[in-house]
Amino acid sequence: MGQLLLAKGEVEQASSAFKIVLEADRDNVPALLGQACVEFNRGRYSDSLELYKRALQVHPSCPGAIRLGIGLCRYKLGQLGKARQAFQRALQLDPENVEALVALAVMDLQANEAAGIRKGMEKMQRAFEIYPYCAMALNYLANHFFFTGQHFLVEQLTETALAVTNHGPTKSHSYYNLARSYHSKGDYEKAGLYYMASVKEINKPHEFIFPYYGLGQVQLKLGDFRSALTNFEKVLEIYPDNCETLKALGHIYVQLGQIEKAQELLRKAAKIDPRDAQAFIDLGELLISSDTGAALDAFKTARTLLKKAGEEVPIEVLNNIGVIHFEKGEFESAHQSFKDALGDGIWLTLLDSKTKPYVIDASASMLQFKDMQLFHRFENDGNHVELPWNKVTVLFNLARLLEQIHDTVAASVLYRLILFKYQDYVDAYLRLAAIAKARNNLQLSIELVNEALKVNGKYPNALSMLGDLELKNDDWVKAKETFRAASDATDGKDSYATLSLLNIHLICLIGFGKGNWNYFAALRNEKRAPKLEATHLEKAKELYTRVIVQHTSNLYAANGAGVVLAEKGQFDVSKDLFTQVQEAASGSVFVQMPDVWINLAHVYFAQGNFALAMKMYQNCLRKFYYNTDAQILLYLARTHYEAEQWQDCKKSLLRAIHLAPSNYTLRFDAGVAMQKFSASTLQKTRRTADEVRSTVAELENAVRVFSHLSAASNLHLHGFDEKKINTHVEYCKHLLDAAKIHREAAEREEQQNRQRQEAARQAALAEEARRKAEEQKKYLEQWRSSTPASKRRERSENDDDEVGHSEKRRRKGGKRRKKDKSSRSHYETEYAEADMMDYREEPEDEDASMNYREPIGQMNDQDDDVEENANDRLAAAGLEDSDVDDEMAPSITAARRRRALSESDDDEPFERQLRDNTDELQDSDGELRENDHKSNGGAALDDD
């Protein structure tokens, strides 16, 4: 009865039946055995063992089944030695006892020694031969064949096993074996199904956890992250320290975007097994975008571990180490790392081949960055030019690094090597183009970009760069179109903008903003009605805001927004904005934004904070330009001029001339500064003889500078109006004459002073005062008699000039008007100020300022010849302009405001030029990161 119940699986009822029997007969062997079986199934192995033992005592010659039971109990209790004895005894009694055989085999297998496993398998096979339908034996055999890779056998065995057993855990094992087999064959669908089946047979995960892991793996493979996550988490519950599971979970969290959680898990994995290089690599790759320092540490640990283990360090790891060092500005380490990643190859020979020069013809040298002959000759010399695809990215990064440390020659060789082998590597073309651009070889640069566009006509980076180049060539219309195309190209990509595309996207947003900004600037030139301007400002602001909204950390957009705000007169807001951008930009090697500094300086300047503006200009000049930018020196000079620091103004201008010798405008400005200095000295009520003497010297210099310019204008070396310069010459000469009189007077005064000092002091002073008054009067009379004539003459000349001027301006049109306007309104202010001063030298002041202003407006003339004709049709607009300007002139406050506006306006084209450079850097940044992403993926895939 009890046996029947037991066989039916009704354990409790069986147990009560056995208990009744046992109460009646303590030594009833079948009941004892039955109860033992019950206890065993309940998991009470020690009770079960006691029962078996009693049965054995009662009936020492009982069949092997009892000993088997004892063995199983002892096995479960962990008494492996005694268990083995029991099994062996059972086997002795009945050599055909399959269970005992299987049990022994399992124990052998679990001993985990080669000999044990072999012995175990032999036993297993024997058991199989004796009784081919023992599920456990089948499972173990299948397991064995799985490891030996005989999948067909695995399937057959497990299918048999499934057919012969109803026992849950055994079935679960069988399904698991089957699933594993399919899994390893890559049939994830089937594997998944069998894992599921296996999992279903399991009541509690901790009994048999492997199918969960397998299922998780398959689901991960199939992209079902959520389910995979649940399964792996179950595994983790049981084995909280399992590295593989931790890593798998980490990956899933990365995929699900929960970076912090992923980091936590991977860190744990790395901590648990500090010798698991892969864990560190995973961790590093995870951290690379968030915490480069920690990522670097992780990669380095991985590298050390792999090196210690004598394994080869993956190229990607070394590349990533290199990239991080690079980003942190540690170029030495980066260099070493890239070199390690590259190992031995043609590049080493190429970089060291400095002793073997290949002479290229100077006429062809223009194309030096396109020249591939080097490699052909190299091949002809019997060398193999080989470049494995997996090293291209590293080579590219190395070249970028060489570029960064100014070894452009070597960098260009490497880029060309890449292109020699892989003609479609667009980024190499772009870098070569960037190098050519940096060396001002625009023609070659454009050619290279076009090569890149041949490969991929919609490559946004290439388009942006082409736009920049066209801007540099003053080809505005083309540039506008190119930027349009660039922004179109990215808009198309918007829909599937992924992490790896983010950088490209960012760059193109800049291009977009910039393109439109330029577009806006170009538009405005056509009609400069203030209303329209305001509209465009609004539009620009809107655009920038949009860009900022799309990518909150876009510094360029923020900078642009700052410019717009400044233009609208909201200096405090724009100042804040610029300051923030400046702070944000100071963190990276790649982001260099000198324009922000300049913009900030402009704002200070516009607010009248000259000292700070000067400091800002100087810092910018030193920090970003190695003090080589004449334009910023000009800004600085202008600030000195406004602050009435004439000598500093002059020195700045002289430095600028030294840097940009062919810029005659600077000479003109220097002349004006000297003239202004002299005039202001002469205006002073008290001056020493020394001061007057230096004034005379300065005026002589000014005269010389102006006459030089006048002579040079005959040769058409610059675009100044000769008459205008002559006016200056005349004026300076005139001033000089006056100054000479002043000097004589002052000298006489000095002498008389000295004489009088010898006499009684009081009397002398009184006398001196009287004389001085007399002198002054005399001079004033003289002055009065001489001035009107010259004044009249100058006036008429001015009128002439004014005509020529506006006519010219009408022709000029174009963007330079902006500059013109800026300087115009700027000096209009001055005019107004002079007006207020009501000093008699006012006409000259006006003259000076106007002259000063005009050439600055003309500065772009030389470059813009081409445009001039095209803009003829804008003549009408030009007329309108002068009207506007005239309206502006009377009101000082208006002029002041205009000036402030135009300051920032003025810097705009300039700033664009700056932005070009930074853009390029940004470009390369993007490239680098992008590559870095590629290598993260393990395989460098195509950009598309």
Partner: protein, 315 residues
């Protein structure tokens, strides 16, 4: 091959020092150093202890260039006001004042025999040659206008001549312009020969190899130093390494090395066999406008916007 810093004079001038040259030794005294500065003065230094020998005034605006006659007796200095002042080195007596308006004055060099002074003429797109006996203008070597350009075309200003160099045999003059082209002239026939291309930014300094009249070195704002075969019109090699404009280049008397000064504040020593920079001196804190090897070898001097002069031992 290396440089070793010997001595630096801080605040050698009141303002940026823009020019430097060695004045060769005469029978009565050793070689001297001549420097020119934005502070409008030219100073003479004893190079052994870097003591100031004399301060010459008389220039207006900054002094952009100085040159010494091979005899060591006379020297010339030029400033932004386009005057060249020729003076006796030991007495500072003015010998001549040269001007050729509207031509500006940039780099100057005496020919190896000392009969002619070549002056880079800026916007006049020419090199002016002055006879050192009579101080008359004897020739103007003009860069020919490219075909098809009208004389009124303003683009001519792009051939603004900044630098000039004599070949060691005195038969050739090379001049560098703002647009990066280098023009080579035959001096005896006063004839333009050809352009050397490769730079596209201003070439501020040129020097021939003292041992090979074909080899010409150029320093450009494009951060590169080029080595040309000036006769064969070929670019032998381009050397990169400076982070900013290369402002000055000079070749060592043995012809094995060159040195460069740059806006990146460094002075570099280049081994011509390796065609690479072997050393980078970082003692200056601002642009290095001038570098010069002592004609006898063994010493190098550099001057900078940081107002200092530095002397190095070259070995």
């Amino acid at each position: 091959m290396k440089f070793a810093g010997l001595k630096s004079v801080e605040n050698a001038h009141e303002e940026s020092v823009w020019a430097v040259t060695w004045v060769p030794a005469t029978e009565t005294r050793p070689a001297l150093l001549l420097t020119g500065s934005l502070d409008e003065t030219v100073k003479l230094w004893r190079p052994d202890d870097m003591q100031l020998e004399r301060t010459n005034t008389g220039h207006c605006l900054g002094v952009v260039s100085v040159a010494a006659h091979p005899s060591g007796i006379i020297a010339a200095s030029a400033s932004l006001d386009s005057f060249v002042r020729v003076f006796d080195v030991d007495t500072n007596a003015s010998i001549a004042t040269l001007e050729a308006p509207p031509s500006e004055v940039w780099q100057m060099q005496f020919d190896p025999k000392g009969t002619t002074l070549a002056v880079a003429g800026g916007g006049s797109a020419s090199v002016k040659l002055w006879d050192t006996a009579t101080w008359n203008l004897i020739a103007t070597l003009s860069i020919p206008r490219p075909e098809g350009l009208k004389p009124t075309d303003k683009s001519s200003s792009k051939k603004f001549v900044l630098s000039v160099a004599w070949s060691p045999d005195g038969r050739r003059i090379a001049c560098g312009s703002m647009d990066g082209t280098i023009s080579v002239f035959d001096v005896t026939r006063a004839k333009f020969l050809h352009h050397l291309e490769g730079h596209f930014m201003p070439v501020r300094s040129l020097v021939y190899s003292p041992v090979d009249p074909r080899v010409l070195f150029s320093a450009s704002d494009d951060t590169h130093v080029h080595m040309y075969d000036a006769e064969g019109k070929s670019l032998v090699t381009a050397m990169s390494g400076h982070a900013s404009w290369v402002l000055s280049v000079d070749a060592s008397p043995d012809g094995a090395a060159i040195t460069t000064g740059s806006s990146d504040r460094t002075v570099k020593l280049w081994d011509l066999n390796m065609r690479a920079a072997v050393q980078s001196m970082t003692n200056h804190t601002d642009q290095v406008w001038g570098v010069s090897f002592r004609p006898l070898g063994g010493r190098v001097v550099s001057v900078s916007d940081d107002k200092s002069i530095s002397l190095y031992e070259y070995s």
